[in-house]
């Protein structure tokens, strides 16, 4: 499948060319300012930096970005609903092979896509899965798959890297001018003074110019991905209501790479509620408004709704000429699951990914145990206080791990487990502060209302059984 919205391809190439030209120009001017004959050397250096950055982004980019966002790959059986929705939307978009699916442990509802058509990935946060129903999730995933099939992922990373290079170069240059200006003025008189002034002006303007271009392009692509989402799902209200839920949430994501920001459904950056010429995303209310104004689900309908609410054109004539009518479908018949139910399922998946063990006490309480325990160990039930042996659960997890996933708790055992085979006993007096010296030299402090039957040294991990008179 080619790019769904073709007029965009030309615009994107132009963007990259202009950004690269700005970078080269900056390199030349800086080179010239340092020495009148070094202009071409500066240009060459800028070109080299750019090529290295673009190549890095093209080869290792997506895995770096996924790792940076702390995304974990999941399999079909971990979260069937999410997987099925990704598959449904890939079929609707004609995207093959399927994108890989990642999950991020964050309460901020959001999603992003990375990679190119042959090797792409979609990552969603746990907060998103907890809040959205099937139709809304479909809308968000379709938006992300729209980014992939429109080649936004590739173009925006390349453009982002170029902008970053411009910013970096001008920053280094301006700082070096600032710190060395005093010395130079005395040493060299005013040789090349005019060139330096031009270079400084250029170095101040170039990053602003580059960023403005980049953000304008990014905002446009968001609208286009929305148009794709409406068309793929045949259900614009799904994405509209998802956008409302996402923007209503007060949570913000941590560790967001700025180069990745245009690939998110809603901007993950701090202060992104302020919309202007420096934001990667158009205002969410505008996007919702356009989606809600659509009378059908085709590109032509999006163009019409966009014209009515924003007053501009967005979709290329060629795409529109090959566009077919697409009536809006009925909402999914699936009964709405409660937020609690969804949260439970998502937390289960996250725990499994972390290698937590699920154990059930004889009193019926289900609890989770972090990785690092040995087979011989026992824990106290947090409700009834009974000792629960961990052996069976660890063996079961190891058996399941041998069949599929690597890195379950059984083979992720920390070295701490070795030192905790034998447990010593502490006699605890309730209602008093108590200091216990661990044999590693660390002091364990028990508070007056400490009531657990076990305590673990925070330093070496040795465990002590606590008895009370």
């Amino acid at each position: 499948m080619w790019e769904a919205i073709r007029a965009n391809r030309f615009r994107s190439r132009l963007l990259i060319v202009v950004l690269a030209a700005v970078l080269m120009g900056l390199g030349y001017v800086i080179g010239f300012a340092i020495h009148p004959e070094a202009g071409l050397i500066g240009l060459g250096a800028a070109l080299l930096v750019w090529m290295v950055l673009v190549l890095t982004a093209a080869t290792g980019g997506s895995s770096l970005l996924l790792a940076g966002a702390e995304a974990e790959a999941i399999r079909h059986e971990d979260y069937p609903l999410l997987f099925n929705v990704v598959e449904e939307m890939s079929i609707a978009a004609g995207l093959s092979p399927l994108p890989k699916v990642y999950i991020i442990d964050s309460d901020a509802p959001n999603a992003f896509a990375v990679g190119k058509k042959g090797n792409s990935a979609v990552a969603v946060t746990s907060g998103l899965l907890m809040r959205l129903n099937r139709d809304e999730l479909q809308g968000v995933i379709a938006h992300e798959i729209g980014h992939i099939v429109n080649n936004d992922t590739r173009f925006m990373t390349t453009a982002g890297v170029t902008v970053a290079a411009v910013v970096l170069l001008s920053d280094v240059f301006l700082r070096s001018m600032l710190y060395s200006s005093g010395r130079r003025r005395r040493g060299r008189g005013h040789g090349g003074g005019g060139a330096a002034v031009v270079a400084i002006i250029f170095a101040i303007l170039a990053p602003v110019l580059a960023q403005l271009l980049y953000f304008a392009c990014s905002r446009r692509r968001e609208y286009l991905a929305d148009a794709c989402a409406a068309r793929f799902t045949r259900y614009p209200p799904g994405l509209a209501s998802a956008l409302e839920k996402i923007s209503a949430s007060a949570w913000r994501m941590r560790n967001v790479n700025r180069a990745l920001a245009p690939m998110f459904t809603v901007s993950p950056l701090k202060g992104s509620t302020v919309h202007g010429i420096f934001s990667t995303h158009p205002p969410t209310e505008k996007r919702v408004q356009v989606l809600r104004a659509m009378g059908g689900a085709s590109y032509a309908e999006y163009e019409k709704a966009f014209g009515r609410t924003v007053g501009e054109h967005i979709i290329g004539a060629r795409t529109l000429s090959e566009d077919a009518a697409a009536p809006v479908r009925e909402p999914s018949a699936e009964p709405e699951r409660s937020e609690l139910e969804k949260t439970r399922q998502v937390v289960d998946v996250l725990h499994r990914l972390e290698g937590m063990l699920a154990v059930t006490c004889a009193c019926g309480l289900k609890t989770r145990v972090p990785p690092g325990y040995a087979k011989e160990e026992e824990i106290n039930c947090p409700r009834c206080g009974r000792l629960i042996p961990l052996g069976p659960a660890i063996m079961a997890a190891a058996a399941a791990g041998a069949m599929g996933r690597e890195g379950t708790s059984a083979d992720r055992q920390s070295p701490r487990a070795e030192s905790t085979r034998q447990t010593e006993t502490i006699v605890n007096e309730p209602g008093k502060w108590q200091n216990v010296n661990c044999s590693c030299g660390h002091t364990i402090q028990l508070s007056p209302n400490f009531s657990a039957l076990q305590v673990r040294c925070g330093d070496c991990g040795r465990r002590y059984r606590v008895v009370r008179e």
Partner: protein, 189 residues
């Protein structure tokens, strides 16, 4: 003498350009046709998947639904018919039948809370729901691609050669027949 050579060159250039254009058009049309065929194959894959899921579903439900033997038998029958169907006309009718049998079944399930709480059943239900969606989306994609292909072979200048090169109009895939579309309309006026 030189006039003849120029004429010859001009004719040769025209022939070469025409050949290049023909090759380009042909390749473009082949690519489109392949996309249409892939889209069609995707529908098939999803229909087959639905057939594979149904025996499991019936097996799981049997233990809980002692009094719904007929509903279950209907599903199995519809599924077997759909699997055996040959030709797109017969197949689409059988698949439609299967869809309505499944719809009936999921309505009945509402009366069996034990079944609805069964993990295995829930997983199967999700897979079936999603497979239904996938069939719908695959059909949608097929129709989009076919539409594009039809527009391309009918528009100038490709329409001059499309017929000669063996590219013909393809039909869209409609699951509901006219009669079925009208059945559920109940009026109390």
């Amino acid at each position: 003498m030189s006039g003849a050579i120029i004429a010859l060159v001009v004719v040769a250039v025209i022939i070469v350009l025409l050949g290049l254009w023909l090759a380009g058009t042909y390749n473009g049309l082949v690519r489109l046709r392949n996309q249409v065929e892939n889209a069609w194959a995707q529908i098939d894959v999803q229909l087959k998947r639905r057939h594979d899921l149904i025996p499991n579903l019936v097996e799981t439900a049997r233990g809980y639904m002692k009094h719904e033997r007929q509903t279950l038998e209907e599903i199995t029958k519809a599924r077997n018919l759909a699997q055996k169907a040959s030709g797109p006309g017969e197949a689409s009718e059988a698949e439609q039948q299967l869809s309505s049998a499944l719809g009936q079944f999921f309505l009945v399930v509402e009366n069996y809370p034990d079944l609805k709480a069964n993990q295995n059943f829930l997983a199967l239900q999700e897979e079936l729901t999603s497979t239904e969606n996938k069939i719908g989306f695959a059909r949608q994609f097929y129709n989009d691609q076919t539409m594009q292909y039809n527009i391309r072979i009918q528009s100038f200048p490709a329409n001059l050669v499309a017929g000669m090169l063996g590219f013909h109009r393809r039909d869209l895939f409609e699951l509901e027949s006219e009669a079925e579309r009208q059945v559920p309309r109940v009026s109390f006026e």
